[in-house]
Amino acid sequence: MLESGELTVPDLVAGYISRIEQDNPDINAFTQWHKEESLERAHHIQRKIENGSAGPLAGVVLGVKEVFCQKGFPATCASKMLASYEAVYDATVVERLLAGDAIIIGRLNMDEFAMGSSNENSMYGPVRNPRNTSRVPGGSSGGSAAAVAAGMCHASLGSDTGGSVRQPASFCGVVGLKPSYGRVSRHGLIAYASSFDSVGAFGSTVHDASVILKAIAGRDDMDATSSTEPVPDYPALLDEVRPDITIGIPKEYFGDGLDPVIRDRVMLVAEKMEAKGAKLVDIRLPNLKYAIAAYYVLATAEASSNLARFDGIRYGHRADMKAVRARLKAEEAELTADGAADLSGLDTPMIRLYKQSRTEGFGPEVKRRIMLGTYVLSAGYYEAYYGKAQRIRRLIKQDFEQAFSKVDVIISPTAPTTAFELGSKVNDPLQMYLNDIYTISANLAGICGISIPAGDHSSDGMPIGVQFMANAFREPELLNAARLAEMVCGESADASSP
């Protein structure tokens, strides 16, 4: 439509802006949107389309999670710690999207520092699920999923450290792609757990997600862990979908705790793919049950280290120094009044400034993870927790290697339930963590995964997500399987029961 001139890029942007202005107060997906800049850029890109010089993403309108740096705009991580922080450079992924002539229309809400599975840990307040605003959108990229589901942008960027792209995609009924570790540069992605963090894409279709992946993937000298593996033309590979694939069904992903309606739906999708020519094979991933425990040891350890940089000195929130000094004086007076001459336990003003700044800047979940990470790394506990978890991480990776020697992709549910009610899990952090059971192992193993919508739940009406996983750098196989599943889900007359 853009090529024929029926619709112009400024029309498109204006349409999204009015949708945001109308619906964002209820959904709270966008933290801010850039009306003037986006419209101005839309005119510029329209001219490029007309004179034939437009890039591959011309006409694509995106939202970007608050975890990414975009020069000249706030990058808050939805934290009071970074409430007044403004990025001084572009994340590599942002730079690549803009170089392809995409329009970044605004910034998206998230769980603070990407820690959460419900998008309730945000200084901007919770994001609400567009399908039912009393339910969560999932997290931590809840804003990114909700914005696409609510039609506020074509596609969006999120980050996935333990499922933070795939789980909200599942809850909101959109496609969420987590590429292999190292497939996409992390430069300019504010770090949570660096050995797990992956940049991911949300879209309405598998094709949309593949277009974004092609634009952002590839080696970047600013991220030493980014891979030199060549980047295939992912969208072009989808022109011809291969049905003759081998799909692994891991017994462990269909056990206790899984909603039976979701289990049946995932199996139905697998059977429909079998009818198209796919081969279904039973596989075992025996160490799945240790994945959550291993992940929360390793990820909180990395978080406690990464978040040590927030000290209130070079950037971020700094506590009021006068109040800090007054408090220290009072503590000193208290100690000397007791007759104790030993003031060695008293913080220096500098140390107390760090502590006070961090305490005021971080929310409860971030503090909890910093504390857990500090604990598992501390003297005497290191080997029992951190060392142990690293060894189990290897076992989990080996399970997948063995599985992928027999199958092209693995099918499973994305989450054990559909989107839950706001507030229903906030007081029980462990229950919240257990929600990541099916997504977390892909991050432990560094492989790729995707969640695609497979109709709605028969009793609560909320979207159900099906997850596919493929070996590291096997995004072509992953996208092929996801596209095939998307086709079989779309073939049924009633979309709610594929």
Binding site: R318, T374, P429
Partner: protein
Amino acid sequence: MSVTIDDVKYMANLARLQLSEDEAASLVRDMNDILGYMELLEQVDTSDIPPLEHVSDTGAGFRPDKAHPPLDHEEALKNAPDADSDYFRVPRVID
């Protein structure tokens, strides 16, 4: 193994956090819950399994040692809570 209020206060100092009594008490509860769940890991015999440090085995690789323009002063200091034209300003360290 169970976490006490003193453990929490000790960890808070290492993590440079200043917890209120309420926060410390609720962290005792949460950390015991979560660390208790992590005891699951003890079921696995990992004596012959080396720790996994990097998921990719390709190594970091080399790149040319080429200088790029750094952030200028103004940009680098732009987000500082307190700065003059050249430096970050911090509280006096030595009285």
